[in-house]
Amino acid sequence: MAGCEDFDADLSAYLDGELSATERMKVQLHLNVCQACHDEMAALKRAAGAVSRLPDVQAPASLAPAVMQEIAHPSAKNSTSRVKPVTGGSVLWMAGGLLAAATVTLAVLFFARNDQGDHKEQQLGAAPKSEDTTAKDQAQKQSVPEKSTESRIEAKSKAQDPKKEAPEFKPAAPALGPAPTLPAEPGGIPEALPPKPAPKIMAEPQADTARTEPPAAKPDDPKPAGISRPAQITSQQGTKPAATPAPGANNTAQTNNSGQGISAPKPESAPPPPADVAQPSAPAKQGHASGLAATLAAGQLVQLRVNQADYNELLTRLKKAVEAAHGTLVAEAELHKDDVAIGKGPQPNTVPSAPAAQSPAGPTPAQAPTGPTPAPSAPTGPTPAPQKPVKLQKFELRLPAEGQAAVLALLEPYAQTNKLPEGPGVGAVRTPPAQTPPPARADAAAIQLQIEVVPPAR
């Protein structure tokens, strides 16, 4: 049998009819046998009945209007709210809150009055000042736009006129430095470079030119300094043997060069007769002058050797010199080179007075053995010309005594050295007597001139 505790919670449910039929049956069976539970059931039934018998009440009539009023006007709720009991604690809290609120209100009012008083004082005392300041402010406001306008105009004018801006940039231009900022190092580059031609070297600075200028006496220099430097040329000849020198020619050349230093016969270095031709080394000039003078005095043939490239210029200068000396170029005849080379005599129609080729190519034309018209004074022995002359040109000059010096000075560099041991001197290879001397004037002397034109050196 189940205990009373098992049906304790079911008694109220049994009373309320909230139990199932089974549960209800069980409780009924228990209530029938358990007086305590039966008594409790009766007590619960009376308690429930007491509450249920409480009379129904009606809501007050003011409830609905109050609710509707509260819905329409929410603020009205406070007025219709219940009256809260006022206690001592709440009174104290309310008093404290009111005191604090009053203090804050007084403080606010106090500061507000002070601020108003100060503001009034400021307004009253500073009224004129404010007017002045206002006027000043207005003036400043007016002036500021003027200044700004002026500055705008200036800026505009500057922008329109770039010249005004130019002076500002002028100082900056030197700061950039001149274009040739790179230091000229003329010394370094020419040292590394091979010898340059004269014009390029002359473009270099003076100091560097002196340093980089190749010496005129360089053996490789294709263009020697000229006849004005016979000593150098002499040394050049010493270092440069002749291509096909004849034994005799070599000797002749050596003999000629020795002691004279005349390099005119050297065809490869035959320079054009410069204006300073009359400025060879002093010993040579003196020797030539004296030789040519002696040749002229002896009435012998003056033989010259000139490079083919320089022939025309020499001829021009010769004509000018003759004219300047008030002389005349009487006759001009050309000996064919073949004749000269092979020893043939001159053409009959060229120069009547010109003998046969006396000095075909060699320094000693008298050595030519096979000449058609061998010179009577030609030395014996074959003398093969090392360099065939292109042509032989023979002139007859008539020069007054006072004009001979200038002409001889012109011809001296080209004068052939006569190596005749017993010869009278320089310049005459042989001394053929003039067969048909031109009628000489009283104050003029006839000069037989024979120019041997040699080809340029290869």
Binding site: D16, A47, I71, S81
Partner: protein, 173 residues
Amino acid sequence: MARYQDRVFGLLLRMCGSATEAEDLAQETFLKVYRSLSGFRHGSQFYTWLFRIAVNVAYTRRQQAQRRQKREGASLDSSQSGEEAPARQVAAPASSRPEAELEKKRIQARVQAALLELKEEYRAIILLKDMDGLDYDRIAETLDITRAAVKSRLHRARQELAVLLKDLNDGGM
């Protein structure tokens, strides 16, 4: 509102024992219902939802009163005793026989006094069952508790109330 106002007002009167407070609570209850209509779930019955709001409003006001009682001390006892009188007066029905009516009023006052001596949750569940006639399921829904909780809680509430009304029962009620 006219349909439910008497029942809500009667519940709140038995809950708080004061007709004025019951009216104020009823007003607040209906305002909350009006403002919370958008959140009403149509799956539940409206009066269940309405009673639930009324009970909660009564709970909240009772808690505020209890805090106020703790602050005010003994003075609250006298005020509470003063509030009960109007409730009785409001609830006092008219009687044909004055003596019988007086005895009935005394019993009703004693029952009301016993209810007010109960815990709030016991009071609410007794009122919802014995006064408003809600079954266990509606009570569970109104109080948001389980049916079993309603069964046990109601049983204990009746036991306490029976104890409180023991003398009354013994007196021939």
